[in-house]
Symmetry: C2
């Protein structure tokens, strides 16, 4: 139940149309809560039906016509309620770690190149975050809102840093490993 709240946050920062929201999700909020335009349109419909947002009155809203939304007081209240409500952390799900664990049983063949690819992706993401930090968070501007947003960005930076380091370490292990991990095909005598 987080996507509607992600949308409310984005709309409070700036009223937008569905497509504008999609773009902003791609380069800001989407870094920690991604969504496709289909999801976003669907949620905008629900949020409007619930009275949390409304369309900004403009030209008649025909198909293919830009339609901007703004948050209503009820929507702001709902977002505040949700933000303050206690929530348990979601159980982890990481495919790459699972694959490594599987590789310990069926062998590491084919895995290394994908690790390399992931390493590059994380390095690129890290560079992007650091660019944003340089651009949007100079040492001056330190209002409360800036500090909170900077904190979120720091989480992104530190996570990407962790993954690049871990993947580098993992690749080092791989080259140190025998050509192929033993595949105990039914005989666990070793």
């Amino acid at each position: 139940m987080s996507l509607p709240h992600a949308i409310l946050t984005a709309l409070l920062e700036k009223p937008s149309s569905g497509l504008e929201l999609t773009r902003r999700f791609d380069k800001s909020i989407g870094y920690f809560w991604s969504a496709t335009h289909q999801q976003i349109y669907r949620e905008l419909g629900k949020l409007e039906a619930e009275g949390h947002i409304r369309t900004l009155p403009a030209e008649q809203p025909a198909r293919g016509q830009k339609k901007s939304y703004e948050v209503l007081p009820a929507g702001r209240a709902e977002l505040a309620r949700w933000t303050a409500a206690s929530q348990d952390p979601k159980p982890q799900r990481d495919v790459l770690l699972l694959r490594l664990r599987a590789a310990a049983v069926v062998g590491t063949a084919g895995l290394e190149s994908d690790l390399r690819r992931h390493l590059e992706l994380h390095q690129r993401q890290l560079a992007e975050y650091e660019e944003i930090e340089r651009r949007d968070f100079p040492p001056d501007r330190t209002g409360p809102q800036d500090r909170l947003r900077h904190l979120v960005l720091r989480a992104g930076i530190d996570l990407e840093t962790f993954w690049t380091q871990w993947l580098t370490e993992a690749l080092k292990e791989f080259t140190a490993l025998p050509a192929e991990a033993p595949e105990p095909t039914g005989d666990p005598s070793g």
Copy 2:
């Protein structure tokens, strides 16, 4: 499409019944791929229908009767295929970061106590991982399989370490913040 492969991995490590799998997911594989017993039973049924696993012949399998599974060659082949296949990283989804971002807009009221709770949970998880490391990965035993599994555990440890540090930092910011973040309820003049 990862749960069946998580189950295949677990079954290759040791043939088990549904409930045994559930328990092992709770304390090992589940650290990075969690699953409920309902999911596991459902997948076991599918995997059996596909010819990837079979029941170990034992007493007649009636309801409430323990039923153990083992992996067939086709299942092992499928797992090896999946492990080697390139996969894109899933887009991130982190509710806590989203809530912090929302708090920058609607205020931080009520958030701090939940941050504290999360910090405690992560500290506890970290302690558990470190206990496992002490127990299962002494400096000797360094076969290829051990090294891979240790690598996975290190990822868990480092991630939990990151979260405890980040949450500590976040809480520090909170106490430095004004009692309540400004709520620009429609008037962004400040």
